[in-house]
């Protein structure tokens, strides 16, 4: 089982690197979908099959398709000149070094963890559902309100209003 974890982890990391360093937005999104599918394999190996299915259906299925639709709507295949000027290899050095310092910090923190005993056995989706609708019922209702606000906000932001300007404010 362990070898599957390492294979999926390597695939996820490589495809994430390709996703953040690509020049074509559609190609990067497809690499990101590959990364999400690899992470879904890891969820399955971590005995969370329900979450693995949710990752494939909602993340890779719904959210990434939304990304791809918008990218196609805007018709931005290749990046513009502005970012081509920015995106030199030199620009990657300082952010990468700073993030690597933080990562080393995290590794040190993980190393100093006390040894803890793990439980065994899979967590059934039934347990997750019971916990979701008993302990976290208030959270579910707040998430519902949040989704409603998101729908209304996206509708208002996405609607194309006809711009009415006063004639003195017209930019010549």
């Amino acid at each position: 089982m362990d070898v599957f974890f390492y294979i999926a982890a390597v695939v996820a990391i490589i495809s994430t690197i390709m996703a953040i360093s690509g020049r074509n937005a559609i190609h990067s999104l497809l690499f990101l979908i590959l990364s999400l599918l690899a992470i879904s394999v890891i969820f399955y190996l971590l005995s969370a099959p329900f979450i693995a299915a949710l990752e494939v259906i909602i993340y890779a299925g719904a959210i990434m398709v939304l990304f791809i639709f918008v990218t196609m709507m805007l018709n931005i295949g290749l990046e513009r000149e502005a970012e081509k000027k920015w995106l030199k290899p030199r620009m990657w050095i300082l952010p990468s070094v700073l993030a690597a310092v933080l990562l080393i910090n995290l590794i040190m923190a993980i190393k100093s963890l006390p040894q803890i005993t793990a439980g065994t056995g899979a967590i059934q989706p039934k347990q997750v559902g019971i916990s979701l609708f008993s302990t976290y019922l208030l959270g579910v209702e707040i998430a519902a309100i949040l989704l409603m606000a998101g729908v209304i906000g996206a509708y208002h932001l996405g609607s194309q209003k006809k711009k009415v300007k006063h004639r003195f404010l017209e930019i010549k």
Binding site: M1, D2, F5, A9, A12, I13, T16, A19, I20, A25, S28, L29, L32, S35, I39, I42, F43, S47, A48, I51, L54, I58, Y59, A62, L66, F67, V70, L74, I76, R80, A82, E83, L87, M91, W92, P95, L98, A99, L102, L103, L106, I110, K111, A118, G119, T120, G121, I123, V128, S131, L132, G139, A143, L146, A149, G150, V151, G153, L157, G158
Partner: protein, 104 residues
């Protein structure tokens, strides 16, 4: 049953998180910045799942479902904002959107 040490699993999630952070710091295209934020959200959820499996509690998976809902809302709003920005400025370069900057 997976016998990978939990430290290695958290390290994997941390590497994904910092890859997202590097992408957010380096890229100037708003689509790519949003993608990097997605990577970071996803690795945070991965840590919840790892911890939930480690302690054998369903709470980690519940938290992942909440993160999923928040992410869906965030992506919908952010993409609507990106559409509006593109219609106003005809570019997705985040450096071009500096109307609030003092011009003096």
């Amino acid at each position: 049953m997976l016998t990978v040490p939990v430290e290695i699993q958290i390290l994997f999630a941390g590497i994904l998180f910092f890859l997202g952070l590097i992408g957010l710091l380096v890229r100037r295209n708003m689509i790519f910045m949003l993608m990097s934020i997605e990577i970071m959200f996803n690795s945070a959820g991965l840590v919840f799942i790892i911890a939930g499996t480690h302690w054998h509690q369903p709470d980690g998976q519940v938290m992942f479902i909440f993160i999923l809902a928040v992410t869906a809302v965030e992506v919908a709003i952010a993409l609507a904002l990106i559409l509006q920005v593109y219609h106003h400025f005809k570019t997705l370069d985040s450096d071009a959107i500096n109307n609030l900057k003092d011009s003096n």
